[in-house]
């Protein structure tokens, strides 16, 4: 197993690799209990063009980075996707949560699939497609996963704009299947 890096070294290794494409990076450290045990969350905002490479880079730090889930925000003009990874699991209190976020313009909400690096990402990618209306390029299975097939096309439950469900929820009787 490769040597475990400290949170600062992890951020540095990303910055060395991708330079200005790492737009933002912060390390959130908190302590618990009388012995002040520390736990660490790393938050990074990366450019869409290098997103997949950052995941590849992450896979060099830990052979199988664990992808918990990807969550998303509708930020108005852009859609933010946040991939929650954890690495160095297995050792006592060694685990570090790495949250890599990427902003996609609403005019072209496209991102590459990471299922070839982490096959377990499939369900969460399918969910992002149907919930946020992003397009995952190269996804092996693009069907809907949670919402039913008769849910109107072009409506995305997590969006906060006109493609969101607000209007539909108020006028459920008008929904055509």
């Amino acid at each position: 197993m490769t040597k475990q890096l400290s949170p600062e070294e992890i951020v540095k290794s990303f910055k060395d690799e991708f330079k200005t494409k790492i737009k933002e990076a912060r390390i959130e450290k908190r302590t618990k209990g009388p012995a002040k045990h520390e736990f660490v969350y790393i938050w990074m905002k990366v450019d869409n063009s290098v997103f997949k490479d950052t995941v590849k880079h992450l896979a060099t730090l830990q052979e199988y980075p664990h992808l918990a889930v990807a969550s998303g925000n509708d930020l108005g003009k852009t859609i933010e996707l946040i991939y929650h990874f954890s690495i160095y699991y297995g050792g006592h209190l060694d685990d570090i949560s790495i949250n890599i976020s990427v902003e996609l313009p609403k005019s072209k909400p496209e991102i590459e699939t990471i299922t070839d690096i982490i096959p377990g990402a499939l369900i969460t990618e399918r969910e992002k497609q149907e919930m946020l209306g992003v397009k995952i390029k190269g996804i092996p299975d693009g069907r809907r996963v949670f919402i039913s097939d008769d849910f109107p096309q072009g409506m995305y439950p997590w969006r906060k704009d006109e493609t969101g469900p607000q209007k539909m929820v108020r006028n459920l009787h008008e929904v055509k299947k």
Partner: protein, 411 residues
């Protein structure tokens, strides 16, 4: 064999009233070659209730009670993961005593959940007498839960900044009585599940998930640990007071010296975790310091603080089935969260079903599917495509086949 037709037909299961407890709807589509499963497709979402969307119309205290209703068995884990995320955002310090009390509640829930699962597994194998035995034991754990929280299932015990009910000296005799009852009966359970010849025949070498698959498919909880992946949030990352307690990751090699990743290994992990949970509760009672149990008892003040808070964070905790992770984003000036994303452990344990089920027999479907302890384990109706002739098996028939296989092996 080579002339096997593998046309898939789509099959839709109606959304609707669901089975209680573990029997929740999920649709599988299997491709069968004779008795052997050659392809699996899992269809989800039949109980998607837009809880996350609903939460953007509620304030954080209301969400605690909404989160509790996500799942009837992990009714403690979801509000807790949400609480951890919110506490991270608003920098709320939790009193030490509350952190220990939170561990006690979490471990009590683990005992309830694992014993419930053991009963379901026995039922799937056709040993209903064991189902009644285990659920009788679970009843004791539920009685204790009711005694400590006031409710059996949706406990309403967690709150932002602490916990709502204390454990006093008066509670201790009943807690020790219940824990001793479990210790006394543990040997009985171990013998039934681990030594019985028929159970071993049905579970050993069945539903294998290799370590590599578990890692690649991001499996969590006992499912991952039974495949030898040491991953347990209680050990990996400090939350509550777990870092102060003596705890280690449970993998099946502790007992047998080897890891096979089969159904039998998943039984071992869960049984050992029951024992671990009892030990952790005892440790907590011994080590628990005095003091407050909540940082701010007035809910209105908590809400005022949260209304000013802004930021995003995640809350991770180890539920009985694996890691629960919640992402929360709060905006200053808005009482309701901007985003709330819930990730339950079964979400990650769905994909590992595919390698587990491939190559198994139809009669093994119930026990293999149940072995990950899914939160919607109902193999409600299975569409089977056999030489172009399509027919359906419902739950009862499938269960009957599983029971028949056990009986055959017993002869």
């Amino acid at each position: 064999m080579s002339s096997k037709q593998t046309t898939k037909t789509t099959y839709q299961i109606p959304i609707g009233p669901i089975h209680p407890a573990l029997k929740e709807p999920v649709a599988f589509e299997f491709e069968i070659d004779g008795e052997e499963i050659v392809d699996v497709d899992v269809k989800l979402g039949h109980v998607h209730r837009a809880v996350e969307w609903t939460a953007t119309k509620r304030n954080p205290i209301q969400i605690l009670y909404l989160a509790e209703r996500i799942c009837g068995i992990c009714s403690y884990c979801h509000p807790t993961a949400f609480t951890i995320a919110v506490e991270n955002i608003a920098d709320i310090e939790v009193p030490e005593r509350a952190e220990y009390l939170r561990v006690i509640q979490a471990e009590l829930e683990r005992i309830c959940s694992h014993i419930l699962w053991a009963g379901v597994a026995a039922h799937e194998l056709g040993f209903d007498s064991v189902l009644f035995l285990t659920w009788q034991m679970r009843e004791k754990a539920l009685d204790l839960t009711e005694y400590l929280t006031g409710n059996r299932i949706t406990k309403g015990i967690i709150t932002i900044g602490g916990i709502r009910r204390d454990i006093t000296k008066d509670h201790l005799p009943k807690i020790y009585e219940t824990l001793n009852y479990f210790k006394d009966n543990f040997e009985k359970l171990r013998k039934i599940f681990l030594d019985d010849k028929t159970v071993r025949m049905r579970t050993q070498g069945c539903g294998i998930l290799t370590k590599e698959d578990a890692l690649k498919l991001c499996a969590v909880g006992p499912t991952a640990r039974a495949s030898g992946v040491k991953k347990d949030v209680r050990v990996d990352q400090a939350y509550f007071s777990y870092a102060d307690l003596d705890i280690e990751c449970i993998t099946p090699d502790i007992l047998t010296g080897e890891v096979n990743g089969d159904v039998y290994d998943r039984i071992i992990v869960r049984l050992l975790e029951v024992k671990q949970a009892i030990d952790l509760i005892e440790q907590c009672i011994d080590k628990m310091p005095g003091g407050d149990i909540v940082s701010e008892p007035k809910v209105a003040k908590v809400l005022a603080t949260l209304k000013k808070a802004s930021g995003e964070s995640i809350g991770r905790m180890e539920a009985p089935r694996g890691e629960v992770i919640h992402y929360v984003k709060l905006e200053a000036g808005n009482e309701c969260p901007f985003t709330w994303k819930v990730r339950a452990p079964t979400y990650n344990n769905i994909m590992p079903w595919v390698p587990m089920l491939l190559g198994e027999q139809i009669a093994d479907i119930p026990i293999v599917a149940a072995s990950t302890d899914p939160c919607m384990s109902c193999t409600n109706r299975v569409a089977i495509v056999d030489s172009g002739k399509r027919y359906q098996l419902n739950r009862e028939e499938l269960h009957k086949m599983s029971v028949e296989k056990t009986r055959r092996l017993m002869k």
